[in-house]
């Protein structure tokens, strides 16, 4: 069997690349819009609310219904079940009813014979809406009591009492903007009515079960009547965790009502207008240090801009609190977070899931302190790194803690003093250009923080010819999870990965799945696959004992050969499988995995929520053109804790891609809404993500040598989200460069640091609008 995707690895570890790209490069991988269109298919487009808040009095569809090709126009009144798709809080109708709460909120669904006809009919729909006041600012929402859920506070020690111990106390504000996911494949679904009165949905979703559950609820039928199938996504990044659901449910509603297949694929601008993004945050911080720069106390208040409905915001909010102290040990912490309801599309999961927003604030606090005290921020960072068994504010100890190891390794591998000297020398010699260097250590907890979600199942079939089909709840979206699952199966069974096919993710084969999210997909589904394959392997070896009269002890399968006490036995994988079938031995196994040991009490906000933590350190160097306010990143140098990477090629790709996505969030990706709640950065020409030329010229990834973690699949740690937070270093590097040019100036902690903000900070005297930080307090307390 030929396998063009396999190359010899540089490191000598598993010889396997990502398996999917072999099809991607030939254009043969199928996404929603590539599914051959079934005869009779209707095309759906969504009519959106033109206002951000108001009382919806009437929807006029008569003209649109008369338009060519239009078959049906569905509104909330056509929903047979409950008009509700809220995941955590039931506060989100599928189609607006009574009120509209954000611009872009789905109001009606047009079904027509062609997409062009459906689009044309959109312009003929009118709505009567009595406008209501619009809130876009989370602090305004909080002041008015517009909260999605009650505020949460994580607390350890007694920060109130600790201030008196501090030699230095600093306060400030920090803001981070939202981020559009910009998966290149837009949201979409294709639904087919089934003969049993249900619906089969091909969906571009990270959460097939969420689509299934909410669709069943909306249609008023059982979940068993809804089948959701996912082959792969053209990018997700969290944007298709909960927010693939409306499009799946709408397509299904159309198919259910019209009894014809319904295809719904959002165009780019509709996707940008209608879907939620990474949560913007506005935060207050207060940090206290002793004379030795040890952080004694930290208080933070986070105002999360949740948008108009809960979506995943409460869980995102919680993760902000989990990561409020990043990779530092702080004995006295009080961190409070408000999930604020505004009239924007409901914001949602995005790689990092609130963690990056929390980490930005503590980094800002440290930098604020360092600038005031005239020391390098890295000095404060280093002195406060987590050590073994230090407690996080949620009382989990840092076990197998690699914070110090990652930090020290980076210093050695990349020679931090030399890098600093180079920057200083450059800045000495150059007037127009200045360099900045930042150090960004990270720590990220792996597991769904809602403990119950940390479960997965795998269904493994061995066919009589020895080939293997694996079904799990994992969704392939570019992260390489299918390759890792194939590796686990092949390695556990002792066979070539060429024999293994990872099937589409389908709710009828593997039910009640958690979404592919929280970086935990490979761990959960990989471990379940491992359990299933171990059971099959044992069953086959037991069969071999009787069939070939061998001793069970010392039996093994390696490279498709059965070994007995290390010597080839008289059977191979293929023969063994075939003979097992004829002896009526089951060749199918369904295994269940639930992460052991983890628990968390959301009332006390204490527990052991994470299977393990991932650590790392990044150095970012930037060159700033102080004439034009533009910048280029010279290098990002990373030391990352992969554990025992099971696939270095895939894992390195996750680090590179994650870091660049984080840099985009911190630099050019500026999400702009006006006061009416209208998205201004509403297309790829006005919302910019990194292109080829804007990424760091050099991006080094050093694999930290550690024994890995037993709760990670094959001791290979989760790798999806953590690298995004290296991108935070980009903000602080640019800030350093600004201060190299204008040392007395203290820019506000406001990301993204666009060329506009840079220039206004380089020349604050020429910019009438204030850009410098309002220093609330800089009091040294005796």
């Amino acid at each position: 069997m030929q396998m063009p995707g396999v190359i010899a690895p540089a490191s000598g570890a598993p010889a396997m690349n990502h398996l999917d790209p072999v099809r991607h490069v030939r254009g043969e991988s199928q996404y929603i819009d590539d599914v051959p269109v079934q005869q009779g298919t209707l095309h759906a487009v969504v009519f959106e609310s033109p206002l951000a808040h108001g009382r919806l009095r009437a929807i006029h569809v008569a003209d649109a219904l008369n338009a060519a090709g239009v078959i049906r126009i569905l509104t909330a009144a056509d929903i047979p079940g409950e008009n509700q798709i809220g995941g955590i809080v039931p506060d989100e109708p599928l189609l607006a009813e009574g009120h509209v709460h954000f611009r872009g909120q789905p109001v009606a669904l047009v079904l027509a014979e062609t997409e062009h006809q459906a689009q044309a009919a959109l312009h003929l729909i009118r709505v009567d809406i009595d406008p209501l006041p619009i809130i876009t600012d989370p602090r305004v929402a909080a002041a008015q009591g517009e909260l999605i859920v009650p505020p949460r506070t994580f607390r350890i020690g007694d920060s109130g009492a600790a201030w008196s111990q501090c030699a230095h106390i600093f306060e400030g504000e920090a803001e981070t903007g939202g981020q559009e996911h910009l998966y290149i494949e837009t949201q979409g679904a294709y639904a087919f009515p089934t003969e049993m009165g249900g619906v089969r949905i091909i969906s571009s979703t990270q959460g097939p079960t969420a689509v299934q559950r909410h669709t069943a609820h909306v249609l008023g039928i059982g979940m068993h009547q809804i089948e959701v199938d996912v082959t792969r996504l053209g990018g997700g990044f969290g944007g298709k965790e909960d927010q693939a659901t409306p499009w799946g449910a709408l397509a299904a509603l159309g198919a259910f009502v019209a009894r014809r297949p319904v295809k719904l694929v959002l165009d780019r601008m509709a996707d940008m207008r209608m879907t939620g993004k990474r949560h913007p945050y506005s935060s207050d911080f207060r940090i206290g240090l002793d004379a030795n720069l040890r952080i004694l106390a930290y208080e933070a208040t986070f105002y999360q801009n949740a948008g108009a409905a809960a979506d995943l915001s409460p869980a995102v909010l919680e993760r902000t609190l989990f990561h409020a102290t990043n990779t530092y040990f702080i004995p006295n912490v009080t961190a409070t977070a408000y999930s604020c309801r505004t009239n924007l599309p409901p914001n949602t999961a995005f790689r990092g899931f609130g963690g990056p927003q929390g980490m930005f604030v503590v980094e800002a606090a440290i930098v604020r302190a360092a600038e005031a005290l005239g020391v390098a921020a890295s000095e404060i960072q280093r002195r406060n790194l987590l050590r073994e068994n230090d407690l996080f504010p949620y009382r989990q100890p840092a076990e197998m803690c690699n914070a110090g190891l990652a930090w020290d390794t980076a210093e050695q591998v990349y020679d931090l003093p030399k890098l600093r000297a180079e920057v200083a020398a450059f800045n000495q010699q150059n007037e127009q250009c200045k360099k900045g260097l930042s150090v960004m250590p990270i720590c990220f907890g792996i597991s769904f923080t809602k403990t119950a979600m940390n479960q997965a199942r795998a269904l493994v079939h061995i066919y009589t010819d020895g080939t293997v089909g694996v079904s799990t709840g994992a969704v392939e979206m570019g992260q390489g999870v299918n390759t890792k699952i194939a590796q686990v199966a092949a390695q556990t069974l002792g066979i070539s990965p060429n024999r293994v096919k990872v099937e589409s993710t389908n709710t009828t084969r593997v039910a009640n799945t958690s979404p592919s999210a929280a970086s935990a997909t490979a761990d959960l589904n990989g471990k379940a696959t491992q359990l299933a394959c171990e059971a099959l392997r044992e069953r086959l070896l037991r069969h071999a004992c009787t069939e070939y009269t061998l001793h069970y002890e010392g039996l093994d399968i390696r490279n498709e050969q059965v070994l007995s006490a290390g010597q080839p036995a008289d059977t191979t994988w293929e023969k063994l499988v075939s003979s097992a079938y004829w002896q009526r031995v089951s060749l199918t196994e369904n295994a269940h995995y639930a992460t052991p040991d983890i628990h968390f009490d959301p009332v006390t906000n204490q527990g052991y929520p994470f299977a393990y933590h991932v650590y790392g350190t990044a150095y970012t160097t930037v060159t700033l053109d102080c004439l034009r306010g533009t910048y280029t990143f010279d290098a990002v140098r990373i030391v990352h804790d992969f554990g025992e990477s099971m696939n270095p090629a895939i894992d390195q790709g996750q680090i590179e891609g994650g870091a660049v996505q984080g840099i985009g969030w911190m630099t050019m990706e500026e999400l702009l809404y006006n006061d009416e709640g209208r998205l201004l950065s509403n297309s790829l020409n006005s919302y910019k993500i990194p292109d080829l030329y804007s990424v760091p010229q050099r991006l080094d990834v050093h694999f930290l040598e550690t024994p890995g973690h037993p709760r990670a699949v094959l001791r290979s740690k989760a790798v999806g989200e953590p690298p995004l937070m290296y991108g935070i270093g980009a903000y602080f590097a640019v800030r350093e460069a600004i201060r190299a040019f204008r040392p007395a100036h203290q820019p506000t902690f406001s990301a993204p640091i666009t060329p506009e903000k840079v220039l206004l900070n380089l020349y604050p005297a020429l910019a009438p609008t204030a850009t410098s930080a309002v220093v609330v307090s800089n009091t040294a307390v005796a």
């Binding site: 127009q432 390489g480 891609g657």
Partner: protein
């Protein structure tokens, strides 16, 4: 009926000339390898190759975003999608192999665009360097990889292409499976197609009388795709006589309305007149869009921030407009705009030519642009300057600025203020102060009023620092 080759298949279609090549490929030919990412030329997921027969009967391939390519512009050409370069099942082309090996594909949705851009790079007649390799994929956006793996793949390819036979590139490439063998028959097939078509030109949806003029499609197919599908269009992109860049005896440079940004960039005449032209053009859109977008389209779009408009305003360019068969007249580019997105030319007048006085030896020219993302982005502010200087004194000056008013601005008073002045920090500062009184920027998604005012000041300084490093220093100005 439109006639062209799609991969190795002869196409005859009566689909409208103003519809998009992307929709034709995906929904009429069911070739689903070409993806839809944004439909505005900003992501490159739909990149295809467009091969055009050259006067020497070779075929030159350019990458284009099929979402903005009018189907009518495919007429007489060879359109290549990924299905047209795939080798037999189980084998990959060297481009595909490099991307797979270097981990340059994750979710895969953008991947085919990269494959096509790099295949186009392989087919280029220019020597392959690291720079040209990266330029080939500068219109392709990837959200997953962070590009480093794609850079590695491009570098690996560049090394392979170093051995490319410059005499017989097609057979060299076909032997190594960069492209299938049928590519070698395409030049003859396009010649035959041309001979066949000379007697019966394309008419479908295309009319030389139609009021709706359509060039490269890079603006109109973003703004009004539904409209263009419905109405007759007058295609000008391939019209004979609207291409070509020449210098007249009086020193004026003249080029046709269908001249693309890439035609300008590649022109030896333009490069000789503007030695930094490749640097300026790198700031303007991307390789595939420069292959499509015309200079006249940039002018007529009337965006207050049009890069080429700003460039040519400083050169005091004129546009020759005319009603077909009814004579023509010249309008100074600085007189073409009467207000936001409104023009002084009549609706039925078309741009025929653009001309400007070539800078003389010793004249100074510079173009500056700052945008949120340096490349493939619309400027926050852009500006160009042309100066004639003698003994450190300005004799003539023309400065333009975009993004700081409702139209692309020629800064008349700023320019005039410099004439007769010695180039010193004081005179430059005085000029930038006058510029502030000539502009009226608004706050929008490209920046706030404060920013745009400050940025224009900085860009004016940048012009003078670039042109007169011996007379001015950064510290003195800022």
């Amino acid at each position: 009926m439109l006639h062209f080759y799609l991969n190795n298949q002869r196409i005859r279609t009566d689909q409208p000339a103003g519809s998009t090549l992307l929709d034709f490929v995906r929904y009429h030919q069911h070739l689903k390898g070409t993806k839809i990412g944004c439909r505005e030329g900003d992501c490159g997921a739909c990149t295809v190759l467009v091969g055009e027969l050259q006067p020497d009967n070779t075929v030159q391939y350019q990458s284009m975003t099929s979402c903005l390519t009018p189907l009518g512009n495919a007429h007489g050409k060879h359109i290549v999608t990924v299905e047209g370069i795939n080798a037999a099942a189980g084998t990959l082309t060297p481009v595909q192999q490099a991307i797979v090996q270097e981990g340059g594909s994750q979710c895969g949705f953008c991947t085919v665009g990269f494959v096509m851009s790099l295949t186009g790079h392989s087919l280029s007649t220019q020597p392959a360097t690291s720079q040209t390799g990266l330029a080939a994929i500068d219109g392709n956006i990837c959200r997953c990889t962070g590009y480093k793996s794609l850079e590695r793949a491009t570098e690996a390819l560049t090394q392979q292409l170093a051995g490319r036979d410059t005499e017989q590139p097609l057979s060299w490439l076909a032997e190594r499976q960069f492209v299938p063998a049928y590519f070698q028959q395409i030049p003859a097939q396009l010649q035959a197609l041309r001979a066949e078509q000379e007697s019966q030109p394309a008419t479908n949806g295309h009319s030389t009388e139609a009021a709706q003029v359509l060039g490269g499609g890079t603006d109109l197919l973003v703004q009004r795709p539904e409209h263009l599908r419905e109405v007759p269009v007058q295609l000008v992109y391939d019209r004979p006589g609207l291409r070509g860049i020449r210098q007249q005896a009086d020193g004026r440079v003249v080029f046709g309305a269908a001249t693309t940004a890439e035609n300008l960039r590649a022109s030896p005449l333009m490069q000789a007149l503007f030695p930094h032209l490749p640097d300026y053009m790198k700031l303007i859109s991307s390789t595939p869009i420069r292959n499509m977008g015309t200079v006249a389209g940039n002018f007529i779009n009337a965006s207050p921030i049009g890069d080429l408009t700003i460039f040519f305003l400083a050169l005091n360019a004129s546009v020759t407009v005319g009603v077909p068969g009814k004579g023509s007249r010249d309008i100074l580019l600085s007189d073409l705009y009467s207000g936001y997105k409104t023009l002084t030319k009549a609706a039925n007048e078309q741009v025929l030519e653009i001309h400007f006085a070539a800078p003389q030896a010793g004249d100074c020219f510079n173009f500056e642009k700052v945008s949120k993302r340096t490349h493939l982005d619309i400027a926050s502010v852009n500006s160009a300057v042309w100066l004639r200087v003698a003994d450190g004194f300005v004799r003539e000056a023309r400065i333009s600025a975009g993004g700081v008013g409702p139209i692309p601005l020629y800064l008349a008073r700023t320019s005039a203020s410099l004439v007769g002045q010695e180039i010193t920090p004081e005179t430059v500062a005085a000029a930038t102060a006058i510029a502030q009184s000539e502009i009226s920027p608004i706050s929008d998604v490209r920046g706030s009023v404060d920013y745009k005012r400050l940025l224009l000041r900085q860009l004016l300084f940048a012009h003078f620092l670039r042109l007169f490093p011996e007379r001015l220093t950064f510290r003195e100005l800022v």
